[in-house]
């Protein structure tokens, strides 16, 4: 406990810090390690002030500094060839990666996690997660086009999931719908490991003209720093509130501030107005640089802007408009109040800038300027409370080489293959298995979730739920557009983090291609347990390598991503969950491939790719036996690439009328979904020489089921054969039938299937 300091003035200025080098500081409460604190003192040549300590502590946190992951993430850079980079206008290190999609258009996309807040306050946690990722995209100078939300929860039937899931979904809906951004995709996954630690990841994609790319930097001495958007309050300052307490002992009875919750409340309306305001500012070319305020608030925005610029920066913190009384400089710097942005503006443009803000009723305040020094100076009523080299805050945080090792239990899991599990074999057993799978929470329709999301707003959504990827039109004149999909089967990753991550990449890539888009870029959100656990670090290291190597094989670059560690309940880490997002391009969205069959008069069903006896980590092993063991299916990325090229070529030439990739649940699930989405019957004919169970439920990668108009069948199959893609005619579409008939298994009435598929989530979550 600190001794009361007789020399404590109201304000801890740099001068005061010089005078009181021995003052005890609560750096540990702020999450800094002993050696990190020592390093800060070395950098500054004195002890940090309260405000500096607040800044370093948030910016050197795992979340902002990537201190445990940096070493490994470097591998993405090492494996990205110049050829893969050709279309990248901005990559890792920027707010979000940017790719050139042709016709003068650039597209940017990114996923972020908001896991922990969403457990504490599901609605607000998820809402502010959406808000944050949208500001990231906006900070690139892009108009946000669409969002997607990969979500993971505890067991579907668990009482706490009934609290968390509806709240998270309502939060994503409440914020995203109010912003006017169509929600075009995502995931809903259930697993015990997420029970105390749901994963709420949010993706946003935006577009801009290539010449309008705004990178976050503060350059040009004399340029003004303008903070605009919401007022700054005590949101999310959590740990930093210890600085405001009279003693650092955490005694809440003292005169200081109570420890505040780190939950923020979002105001989607304020963000919508902020978006329109920013777009008008970009349009009028009134910003030199811009940065969103997310985690770490002003600490992050000012240090990153200054670090990336060519000069220094001075900020007068007392000018920041506040929402709470008596906030200290440290609190203002660390506040995570939402819906704020920070811009660098030429002095001659300040009046015009302010006029645009007034038009949108957005509060804007000049809080400082770019200086010709190389330090970031923050003042409070004229006194200096921060004087630091900005790069030491923003980019030169600690980097750790955490120990990692393959855990021994990995052998046990691998040895426990699904071969020992009883398999259905009679037609009745197979029929019962199909229905049970379709109705399981794992595979049931997500409509109860997705119908809460506006997928139509702005009128450019061409495909959304439940199709394999979301497709949005970017250019109304040419029809150019993009497709996005996110995927991760974390059960595969658990069995083999390297191959499992390649499978996640393969699935997202395939989902994009199945919609007719050529995949061009990859983003990720790496959700893992504690980096202090060598087993978790091993999963992480393997996952990064799997993703990077996979991207190199596919020839698509990783343009950005996000790492979320410490996802665990007690000692129990979540299943390793590297969510992979893939972006694809369509030169004309009119040639997108939908999922539902029955659009053309006569269609054949063709199964593309090869089916092997692969059940490790499959949906069947889980649903039928609660089993997770063995090894996951083997990915073949060269095959995935070929499949994608064929699907894109077929979409160009109008050879396929519907397509669906095969993933969770295998062929049976894909056939059921294509029939239900198209509201059209079909007959599926299995290969008499192969095991029907394997054909129906295996999750071998690299496969898709396509519907081909009879008139195009020959052309299409010749193309597949010529290019070496295995295919097999697996049935015909039968609009008159009103049922899905699977030969040697039985008939499934569409109504029966629909009731099974659509009934599950409402029964679980309707209040």
């Amino acid at each position: 406990m600190a001794a009361p300091d007789v020399d404590t003035p109201a304000l801890d200025t740099t001068a005061h810090a010089e005078r009181t080098p021995e003052l005890t500081q609560p750096y540990r409460e702020l999450g800094l390690a002993d050696d990190e604190y020592v390093r800060i003192r070395e950098i500054l040549g004195r002890r940090p002030t309260d405000a500096e300590l607040a800044m370093y502590s948030v910016m050197w946190s795992e979340h902002c500094s990537y201190k445990s992951s940096k070493r490994h993430l470097a591998y993405f850079g090492e494996t990205t060839t110049p050829e893969m980079k050709a279309k990248m206008l901005a990559g890792i290190g920027e707010n979000a990666g940017v790719v050139d999609i042709g016709d003068g258009w650039a597209v940017t996309f990114k996923v972020e996690s908001h896991n922990h807040p969403s457990y504490v306050e599901p609605y607000q946690g998820a809402a502010t997660g959406v808000g944050g990722i949208v500001r990231d995209i906006l900070a690139m100078g892009a108009r946000p086009l669409a969002v997607a939300d990969p979500l993971r929860f505890g067991p579907a039937e668990a009482p706490d999931t009934r609290r968390v899931l509806p709240g998270v979904v309502a939060g994503v809906a409440g914020y995203g719908n109010c912003l006017g951004l169509p929600n075009v995709g995502g995931e809903v996954v259930f697993d015990e490991s997420y029970a105390g630690n749901p994963l709420v990841n949010a993706l946003c994609v935006g577009a801009m003209r290539t010449e309008d790319l705004h990178l976050a930097h503060a350059s040009g001495t004399g340029n003004k720093i303008i903070l605009f958007g919401a007022r700054t309050g005590l949101d999310g300052i959590g740990g930093v509130s210890v600085l405001a307490s009279e003693t650092f002992s955490g005694d809440e009875s003292g005169g200081g501030r109570k420890k505040l919750p780190s939950v923020q409340v979002g105001d989607p309306f304020a963000e919508k107005v902020l978006i329109e305001c920013c777009l008008e500012l970009f349009d009028k070319r009134l910003v030199v640089g811009i940065q969103d305020l997310g985690g770490a608030g002003l600490s992050c925005a000012t240090s990153e802007l200054a670090a990336a610029g060519d000069g220094g920066m001075r900020v007068d913190l007392d000018r920041v408009p506040l929402r709470a009384e008596g906030m200290t400089p440290a609190e203002i710097l660390s506040s995570e109040s939402q819906e704020r942005m920070c811009a660098v503006v030429r002095p001659s443009d300040v009046d015009d800038f302010m006029a645009v803000c007034r038009k949108w009723d957005v509060l804007a305040t000049e809080i400082g300027e770019v200086t010709d020094g190389d330090t970031l100076v923050v003042r409070w009523n004229g006194e200096t409370v921060v004087d630091v080299p900005p790069r030491t805050v923003a980019h030169q945080g600690p980097v750790y080489d955490r120990p990692f090792a393959r855990p021994k239990e990995q052998d046990t899991i691998e040895a426990d293959t699904p071969d020992r599990l009883a398999r259905p074999s009679t037609p009745d057993e197979l029929r019962e298995t199909v229905l049970r799978m379709v109705a399981s929470p794992e595979l049931a329709s997500r409509e109860w979730v997705t119908q809460q999301y506006d997928r139509y707003v702005r009128g450019n959504t061409v495909l959304a739920q439940p199709s394999d990827s979301g497709v949005v039109r970017v250019d109304e004149n040419t029809g150019r557009g993009v497709a996005v999909a996110t995927d991760c089967n974390s059960r595969f990753v658990r069995l083999d983090p390297y191959e499992g991550t390649r499978l996640a990449l393969a699935e997202a890539y395939r989902n994009v291609a199945t919609s007719g888009a050529m995949p061009v870029a990859v983003t990720n959100c790496l959700n893992f347990g504690s980096p202090h656990d060598p087993g978790v670090m091993w999963q992480f290291e393997r996952a990064v390598h799997g993703l990077a190597d996979g991207c190199a094989e596919l020839g698509v670059p990783v343009t950005g991503g996000n790492v979320s560690f410490y996802n665990q309940t007690g000692e129990q880490a979540i299943l390793p969950t590297p969510v992979v997002g893939v972006l694809g391009v369509l030169d004309d969205v009119r040639r997108r491939i939908p999922t539902g069959i029955g659009a053309e008069a006569g269609e054949s069903l063709l199964l593309l790719g090869e089916t092997r006896d692969e059940f490790g980590g499959s949906a069947w092993a889980r649903v039928a036996h609660g089993h997770l063991g063995g090894t996951p299916p083997t990915p073949d990325l060269a095959r995935e690439r070929l499949l994608a090229e064929i699907l894109v070529a077929a979409s160009r030439d109008g050879l396929v009328s519907a397509a669906h990739d095969l993933s969770d649940g295998g062929l049976a699930q894909a056939a059921v979904e294509m029939a239900l989405i198209g509201q059209c019957g079909a007959r599926v004919v299995l290969d008499p020489d192969a095991d029907p169970f394997v054909q129906l439920f295996s999750e071998s990668a690299g496969r898709a089921l396509v519907a081909v108009p009879r008139s195009e069948e020959l052309r299409f199959t010749e193309m597949c054969s010529a290019r070496g893609l295995p295919w097999r005619k697996t049935g015909v579409v039968d609009p008159g039938a009103g049922a899905l008939h699977i030969q040697d298994v039985g008939d499934f009435g569409l109504d029966e299937l629909r009731a099974a598929w659509e009934g599950t989530l409402p029964a679980l979550f309707e209040s």
């Binding site: 997705t450 119908q451 809460q452 139509y456 707003v457 702005r458």
Partner: protein
């Protein structure tokens, strides 16, 4: 000269771009109107589009109805100018007293986005003449507070006077009284509905192009009886 149809933007309006697109598709000229400006810029008809005006805080449409532009809209409607309120626009028109009743939270309490079948019950309003009576159309519905309520006497009056223009078929998505999806004013010039015809103008981006009829109807109405200039 093609008619000019104004589309209002409030802070928080979302579907103004879509309404403008629908107006353009139908062959009219779309004119953007700003909430803070009472000037209707000489338009022949006005659309109050969907979205979350002022965040829908307090109550949907409650704050927007006091915007300067709404004063002019109420006045123009009094002179017979065709006015269409879609979703949030419908809520605003009810709050402003141009249409009776109110819209309340969906029965199941969550936002619903789905392709919705509607039956056209009345084809005499300025925004529905292009439909066959009894026609069924497929249009997106996307709202959290879309339940139409009014007292029994008002509901009876609306039914009796043929002022229920659109009704939900194939399931009531939000608990609206008597499955009401859209109603018109007594003179037929003002129409409010929760579903979004402006999102059903092209099968590429919507479930159908059934919504175009709403906009073509307005062109007919303006050709037959141009709104008096004020």
């Amino acid at each position: 000269m093609s008619p000019r149809i104004g589309v209002i933007t409030f802070p928080g309006t979302l579907d103004d771009v879509d309404a403008c697109r629908a107006v353009t598709y139908s062959g009219a000229e779309a004119v953007s109107l700003w909430h803070g400006d009472a000037d209707l810029r000489g338009v022949d008809a006005v659309i109050v589009p969907g979205g979350f005006s002022y965040g829908d805080y307090l109550r949907c449409g409650a704050i927007a109805r006091f915007a300067p532009v709404m004063g002019s809209v109420v006045e123009a409607a009094g002179r017979g100018m065709p006015v269409l309120g879609i979703c949030n626009g419908f809520q605003i028109l009810c709050e402003a007293g141009l249409l009776p009743g109110a819209l309340v939270r969906n029965e199941k309490l969550h936002f619903v986005c789905r392709d919705q079948w509607l039956r056209v019950e009345n084809t005499t309003s300025a925004w529905s003449t292009r439909y066959e009576p009894g026609a069924e159309i497929l249009v997106p519905l996307k709202s959290g507070e879309g339940g139409y309520v009014a007292d029994e006497a008002t509901l009876d009056e609306l039914e009796g006077e043929g002022r229920v223009v659109f009704r939900y078929v194939d399931g009531n998505p939000n608990g609206s009284r008597r499955d009401i999806a859209g109603i018109r004013s007594a003179d037929g010039r003002v129409l409010g509905l929760m579903p979004h015809p402006e999102h059903a103008i092209d099968a590429l981006t919507g479930p159908s192009d059934d919504g175009l009829g709403v906009f073509y109807s307005a062109l007919d109405a303006l050709a037959d009886a141009p709104a008096p200039v004020g």
